[in-house]
């Protein structure tokens, strides 16, 4: 891989500010680029706004009226600002997948969980859905473990398997960007490792943004790292640089554990 060639930008946050419905400003002038087909990690102490920023990208905040975005998030290749007033958040969410902190499969069968994204898009042909479900489960490294019991309840899976199911569910619709909100904080170390391996495999197909409270995970998994503090983006760069030669003192203090 030629590391000096410029990387295509999948999405860019430009001067992004965000206000919760009670008026509190959670994000201040964020300028951040997500490189296409790479993993970008967001790290920072609790309450710094990393999850808030993540949820701006698929406009999850729109579910809770009263909050306000300022600035732009431009997605390529169309170059449209997904925060624009004439953009339907449902459209945005159709192109972007999200995996949450605690695995949240639907109380349905494994098959129906993965198929739901397709059903929402009006896909009806059984054969097509079967194919996509199988492909998604394979991409999530879960197919081998569940192919004999696709129609049993998702709740019977272990925590790590449930999280991989949630990943498969998000992948089934071929999203352009995958958002991971602390995906392994509720899992044991073995399950965590399998998810991290999976993320490494997935990045060739999708652009990934992962929020993690675990610095070491960010160092293991990501190509680029952004450090946030109190709603501001303090530093952003290649992961190796951030962790070995950070340019900001606050970044260095956080990395070396002087505060957390």
């Amino acid at each position: 891989m030629n590391s000096s060639a410029p990387l295509a930008a999948k999405a860019e946050a430009r001067n992004l500010n965000f206000f919760y419905s009670n008026g509190v400003q959670a994000l201040r002038s964020i300028n951040l680029t997500l490189a296409m087909n790479r993993v970008t990690a967001l790290i920072g102490p609790s309450g710094c706004g990393k999850s808030t920023f993540l949820r701006c990208i698929n406009r999850m905040h729109d579910l809770y009226p009263g909050s306000r975005y300022e600035g732009q998030i431009v997605v390529n290749p169309d170059g449209i600002d997904i925060l624009g007033p004439d953009i339907d958040p449902i459209e945005v969410r159709m192109r972007i997948g999200m995996v949450f902190q605690k695995p949240n499969p639907f109380p349905k069968s494994i098959y129906e969980n993965v198929a739901y994204g397709l059903r929402v898009r009006g896909v009806r042909q059984r054969a097509l859905i079967d194919d996509k479900v199988e492909q998604a489960l394979k991409n999530a490294a879960l197919w081998g473990e569940v192919k004999e019991r696709l129609h049993s309840l998702a709740f019977n899976l272990s925590g790590g398997q449930q999280q991989r199911l949630c990943i498969a569910r998000a992948l089934a619709t071929d999203p352009e960007i995958m958002l991971f909100d602390e995906p392994t904080s509720a899992l044991d170390p073995i399950a965590t490792e399998s998810i991290e391996t999976l993320i490494g495999q997935l990045k060739t197909k999708v652009t990934i943004l992962i929020v993690t409270h675990n610095m070491h995970q960010a160092a293991r998994v990501s190509d680029f790292t952004a450090f946030m503090h109190l709603g501001e983006l303090i530093e952003f760069g290649p992961t190796k640089t951030i962790f070995t030669k950070p340019s900001q003192k606050r970044t260095e203090d956080y990395i070396t554990g002087r505060y957390g």
Binding site: L63, I90, R93, M98, N104, Y116, C166, A170
Partner: protein
């Protein structure tokens, strides 16, 4: 010195425990009082009426002779009226509950609506009867019929169904809502594919409890003209000629179980009081059975869906 302190602490703890025991005893007596009074009433009623509960009792019309009186028209009337009530109240109530929980914006107007719906559940039933008399019987001209009675009881069940639907939807964890929306679902798709299916248990429980209460309602149905001596049944809903379905039964006069009981109790002959007690036993049994069904269904749904 230390041993003195230990003694003081020990006796303090002992005093607190004695107080706890006294309170537990008082609470137990209060509970037993309620249960025993109810049990005594039920047993008295059963003792009065059990001899009258025969097959003929369920298949005979009321009559001048207490020996030949039965509850046929009463229980069929109750059944038909409740069926109409459920068919109206459930779709409207569930839809209203979904709207309020999923679509409505949270502003002062919605707060007022929510308060009003909660209040409706506490309005005295006779008021519903007066409303029904003015609106259904006279203004809409539906007459003193099963349809009117069904609509009146539907109004009474409605607030319970709405509140239970809202509670059931609210008890679905936010993570599930967000998972559906994150996949690009609209509010309607989320409600149809997830919120309603997972709330079935709660909604069903609300419907059954509302129905169990409505079965015993007397005041509003007297107001809209339920009769106390009906010696015939409404025409059957299926007919032999095209179109094979008839809605004439909706417009027939009718009676219901509690009303029949009331009518018998008001007669001077003690034999009729026995018949009334028998009807009361049947009514009580139906109510308890429905509540038990609601509890069992709620238990089964809770087992299947574990958040």
């Amino acid at each position: 010195m230390a041993t003195d302190d230990i003694q003081a602490v020990r006796s303090m703890i002992a005093a607190h425990k004695r107080r706890d025991h006294v309170f537990a005893l008082v609470a137990l007596c209060a509970m037993l009082f309620g249960v025993l009074v109810l049990l005594a009433l039920i047993l008295a009623m059963v003792a009065d009426g059990y001899q009258r509960i025969t097959y003929d009792f369920f298949t005979s019309f009321p009559s001048r002779h207490p020996d030949r009186s039965g509850i046929l028209s009463a229980w069929i009337g109750s059944l038909l009226v409740i069926t109409v009530a459920i068919l109206v109240a459930v779709p409207v109530g569930v839809a209203a509950g979904v709207y309020l929980e999923v679509y409505a914006r949270r502003n002062w107007l919605m707060d007022i609506i929510e308060i009003n719906i909660t209040n409706l559940a506490g309005v005295p039933p006779i008021i519903y009867g007066l409303l029904a008399l003015g609106l259904f019987v006279h203004l809409w001209g539906l007459g003193e019929s099963i349809l009117t009675a069904g609509l009146t009881l539907a109004l009474m069940i409605l607030p319970v169904v709405i509140m239970n639907t809202r509670e059931a939807i609210r008890s679905i964890p936010q993570a599930i809502h967000e998972a559906a929306y994150a996949l690009g679902a609209t509010k309607g798709q989320t409600a149809r594919d997830h919120l309603l299916p997972y709330s079935k248990g709660g909604i069903l429980t609300g419907v059954i409890i509302g129905t169990a209460t409505a079965i015993g309602e007397t005041a509003p149905l007297i107001t809209i003209g339920a009769l106390t001596f009906i010696a015939f049944l409404p025409p059957a809903p299926v007919t032999e000629i095209f179109p094979f379905v008839s809605f004439d039964w909706l417009f027939d006069p009718f009676t219901v179980m509690p009303l029949q009981m009331f009518s018998w109790v008001s007669r001077p002959q003690p034999a009729f009081h026995e018949v009334a007690a028998a009807a009361g036993v049947v009514l009580m049994f139906i109510t308890l059975a429905m509540n038990a069904l609601a509890i069992w269904l709620r238990y089964r749904y809770r087992k299947r869906i574990r958040w």
